[in-house]
Amino acid sequence: MVTMNTWIERQRALIDFSVANLGRRRGRNLGLFLAYTLLVFLLASVVLYGDALRREARLLLADAPELVVQRLAAGRHDLLPATWLEQVEGLRGVRGAEGRLWGYYFDPAVAANTTLLVPSASLSTSPPAPGQMVIGAALARARGLAVGDVLSLRGYDGKPYAFTLAGVLDADSELVSADLMQVNAADFRAFFGVDPGLYTDLVLRVANPREVRKVAEKVLQRLPGARVIAREEMRRTYEAAFNWRQGVLLTFLSTLMAAFALLAWDKASGLSAEERREIGILKAVGWETGDVLRMKLWEGALVSLCAFLAGYVLAWLHVFYADAPLFTAVLKGWSVLYPHFALAPRVDVAQIATLFFLTVLPFVAATVVPVWRAATLDPDEVMRE
């Protein structure tokens, strides 16, 4: 116990000394600290934002149907007949099947693609009344619409169709509903010219997750021209897409990491005459090489810790309170109508470890050799200079 206490006391004294040392060379260390903080800030923004988006996508997909069945004609997605619905409804393991109606509409007023959709009958909310429409919050913002306004859209036949705005969708769901327009089935069919016996695609609910693959196989047996997409595949694709975007950004930022490592190496190896003399004096009054080494390592550790904390906190504010203006376009990947949504802040130990590896490690690797060089300076030689 005694040795442990002396060890702690020793480290404490070294830390005290290091802090005083850092304080004395404030200007020089400030530059390094700022560059370090900036690096952590950029990398942490990418990681935090990407992770939050991934989590959001995962939460959204949790409620998605297990299977989506689409019809392919000449390799392209096509409308499917209602008879398909009857064919898959009775499959063992399928808890419910439903035909969906949705399509894209280019809105010249905001120069953006929007999605027209008939809300699912299984949801508690009833579809809009004839001639009425419910739209996403981003779209309402872009077009400056409020409930009760009339919105006129040009249908498939070139004629204008007028819809009264009955409501604006909850901002909570904005990640998916930003560009959404909800109408009822009859209006949808009239607007796009879709015959009553046709659907855009089918969704199947499967009660037992282990049966999803089997049900998908059976659907393909009955409907050879179909494409079946499992929810797990969608989730995987989302995760892979966000991972990929994050990774590409991080790879680009790694050039910055290399530049920073170079800076740190340069700062650590370019000792001033004063510092060299200082180390010489310390050794002359009885410090061992190991002590000087430890003091220098403590200096690096303190700078790292402060810069890491500062950068991480800044990135946190940037992502969760300022909507990450620096990386939105790359990471989110929406085209024109950007959803405006608040991501749920969360701390994740693995994420912090990842960031620590990505930022502190290059610094340590770059400075360890110069630090050792400084610590092994010959006191006699240095003081004679």
């Binding site: 990929w244 994050q246 693995a350 470890a353 960031l355 590896f357 490690l361 360890v368 050799v369």
Partner: protein, 329 residues
């Protein structure tokens, strides 16, 4: 697939680690050839100076080792949804042949680095650096291991293919598949439980005996090292099923997840610490140099205290989980 922040971080860490330790390995060859404490030549002084650098580098490597191991396991767990059929880390690690070897190399690297640091510390305590040759021979083992670890990690992440159908932990540790893992799972509780507790008690008893009498220190180091695979086998054979309260769920990785109260961290952290300290204590007790007559036993006793405390916590945690469980096996 390689484009994932955690994977990039691990690859960076492993590559830097390999680079630094390989440099140290080359230096070790040099030192073993030219080391001559009797000489006051320039080369000898340069060698002596450089030993400080190598000590720092291996220390960093050890400091990195455990978080890297944890991040690797955690990330493997997080990647499971990418692989059809994978439900936890085992599925991800089995997604190609490199996953498990990478994990094992990280485990070995951690314990070797810990052992090396104990030797390094002891060596610094003796006025004539009595252990320097043994220490640098060990480094010749550590450096290639670091390289292998980096190569395995690169191979693992580069060859990950999300479409591969992999075994989930249920089938790997179930009775259907062969191999070491299945045999550990197949150990009947009636054998595994007494075996584990006997081994645990014996290790602790020898440790306490060493603290009281100062004898059998080397035996304690050996037992602490042997206790590690025994403990892992016990986790797979009965501790994990008791925690999951499912007789057929043997996975040692699902324990790390939140839904099992992070039991894995409670078990593995003291186990790793205790094993590393125990091996170090054995090494310190085995040091036979005149200049270490006083300090080596002191270091050995200190490490033994840490090891006994940590392994004790591990065993008590196991007992706690067994008692809390509603499973009867």
């Amino acid at each position: 697939m390689i484009f994932q922040p955690a994977a990039l971080a691990l690859l960076l860490a492993a590559s830097l680690n390999a680079l630094l330790l390989l440099g140290s390995g080359v230096f070790a060859l040099h030192l073993l050839r030219h080391w001559n404490p009797a000489s006051g030549s320039e080369r000898q002084i340069a060698l002596e100076r450089r030993t400080y650098l190598v000590g720092t580098l291996v220390g960093l490597s050890l400091l990195l080792g455990l978080p890297a191991l944890a991040l690797f396991a955690h990330n493997a767990d997080a990647m499971a949804p990418f692989f059809t059929g994978a439900m936890c880390a085992v599925g991800s690690l089995k997604a190609n042949v490199w996953g498990m070897p990478a994990l094992l190399s990280m485990l070995a690297g951690f314990f070797l680095a810990a052992a090396w640091l104990v030797l390094n510390h002891l060596d610094g305590l003796g006025w004539n650096t009595p252990l320097i040759r043994g220490k640098y021979r060990l480094l010749l083992l550590l450096a290639p291991l670091a390289l292998a670890q980096a190569v395995l990690l690169w191979l693992y992440y580069l060859n990950l293919n999300p479409e591969v159908i992999t075994s989930c932990c249920g089938s790997l540790f179930g009775p259907a598949s062969g191999g070491v893992a299945a045999e550990m799972a197949a150990l009947p509780v009636a054998t595994a439980m007494p075996l584990f507790f006997a081994g645990w008690l014996l290790t602790l008893a020898v440790g306490v005996g060493f603290l009281a009498r100062g004898r059998f220190g080397r035996l304690f180091g050996l037992l602490a090292a042997l206790h590690f695979p025994l403990a892992l086998a016990a986790v797979v054979a009965f501790i994990a099923p008791y925690i999951y309260e499912q007789p057929n769920h043997h996975c040692p990785f699902c324990l790390l997840q939140a839904e099992h109260g992070y039991a894995g961290w409670v078990l593995y952290l003291p186990l790793f610490l205790g094993t590393a300290a125990g091996i170090g204590a054995g090494l310190a007790a085995a040091a036979r140099a005149d200049s270490l007559k006083v300090s080596a036993p002191r270091v050995a006793a200190g490490l033994t205290k840490v090891a006994v405390a940590a392994l004790g916590v591990f065993g008590l945690a196991v007992l706690f989980y067994l008692r809390r469980s509603n499973l009867v096996m």
